[in-house]
């Protein structure tokens, strides 16, 4: 019930227009990985997917932000069906909830920078994406570039300004045998950057 309302509101306010530049919306198990500049990012990607795919695509969300009492947790659990991840150092593998979701056959939306960066181009990626790719070799890795969400909801503001945001989907990242972790993460980051509008990458 809350899900259609969420995606409708998101599209009304920020457009969240999908551009399937080099991949198509398909029923496949995927990990969508994107640049992260605003709290709207999760909603933007999720809303830009067709309703059918939204049912099996779960955003990965930081527990310290989204698992707070009230509306936020309700949106996260009831609306977005997120996978919570803990950012503070704890015992155990922080990625285990993600493994669990992938083993269930769900697709994931993740932000490999780990936190928001108020810049047009993403910061270096954390290792999580590499370990997921190692463990689940059949899952497609789709790079996603989010444009404009950082202008909608800059760090520190609570009310989003309506601006048309686009969500660009690139080609699945190809698997390369015996690739080093740093090389893989660098290649993944470049795949996201390659989707950014020309004027941003040449700044």
């Amino acid at each position: 019930m809350i899900s259609p309302l969420l995606s409708l509101t998101t599209r009304f306010l920020i457009g969240a227009l999908p551009r399937w530049q080099a991949s198509q919306p398909e029923h496949r198990q995927r990990i969508y990985f994107a640049n992260h500049t605003s709290h709207l990012d999760t909603l933007a990607i999720w809303s830009s997917l067709p309703a059918e795919l939204r049912k099996t695509t779960r955003p990965v969300a930081a527990r310290d932000y989204w698992d707070k009492a009230g509306v936020r947790r309700h949106i996260a659990t009831q609306g977005l069906n997120v996978v919570f991840i803990s950012r503070d150092k704890q015992s155990g593998d922080p990625l285990s909830p993600l493994y669990e979701a992938l083993e269930n056959g769900d697709s994931l939306i993740i932000f490999p920078e780990g936190t928001r960066h108020f810049l047009p181009l993403p910061a270096p990626f954390k290792s999580g994406l590499y370990y997921l790719a190692q463990k689940f070799k059949t899952v497609e890795l789709i790079p996603v570039y989010l444009d404009n969400t950082r202008r909608c909801l800059p760090k520190g503001s609570l009310i989003p300004v309506p601006l048309a945001c686009t969500v660009t989907y690139g080609a699945p990242l190809e698997a390369i045998e015996h690739e080093e972790k740093t090389a893989f993460l660098q290649r993944a980051r470049e795949a996201v950057i390659a989707l950014a509008p020309h004027e941003i990458t040449t700044d």
Binding site: G15, L17, P154, S157, I159, V161, P162, L163, A164
Partner: protein, 319 residues
Amino acid sequence: MDSFISTVITQAPIKFWWILAGLILLLVLASSIGQYLARKNNNDVIRNLNDRIRAWWIMVAVLVACFMIGKVATLVLYAFLSFFALREFITLTPTRKGDHWALCICFYIAIPLQYWLIGADWYGLFVMCLPVYGFLLLPAVTALSGDTDAFISRVAKIQWGLMLTVYCLSYAPALMLLPIPGYEGQNLLLLMYLLLVVQLSDIFQYIVGKLFGKTKIAPNVSPSKTIEGLIGGGFLAIVAGTALWWITPFTPLQAAFLSFIIVACGFLGGLSLSAIKRSIGTKDWGYMISGHGGVLDRLDSVVFAAPVFFHLTRFIFVP
């Protein structure tokens, strides 16, 4: 619901049904020509033409539905149009973090307030609220953010965006406010008249320009605007506007004069908004209306024509 629809149908003036029949006839004609051309030679221009015609069906359907439901629906529709037009304008205009609160005021306060003032029949505040209070408040709010980089141009962008997409556009439904003696209860027809003349002028200029256009008026600003298109298309629109005098409070001669004003302002509006697009480096304002581009691509002529048409009509016909 049934009784609601029947009151709506009985309350609409008979002139409205004539206009509606005429519009449907025009659209059927346009669609047939489009289909015929598509079968003969389906290139990009024809495909775009058919996209445009399909979008026209939807736009006419939405407008007519709101007209029939009445004043509040029409105001809500225009508030949404302002919202989407401003969203397109600000999306393409570089703004900074320091503009955040000013933008929030534009979207969440200025738009509802402006249309509420029309709904509340408060003419005095409707004409001055944004240009006086709004345009003084916004730079002050931006200044409070402490970011002074490119302050003048940032303030100018937000103010002009607000003026075009909210203040000027709201003059179209504000035609419902005008107390014209002997024309009570028919003001929605005046709004329809404005839209018809503006859009027919755009369409005629597009067609005449495509067929006979040679001399470009401002090649740097808009490569599709030609003198032949302007004169031929403008003339046809004025003829159509004159022929529609019977849905307005005007005499045929007055209708010809006001149509001329609408056509001229519409042309200048299209030209000015094209200049903004060029300076930003884009061809269309957005993607919401298939074949046309964004909401603002369709409304660029209306935003210039509406305030002038409103004030001239008010000056001449409201005692």
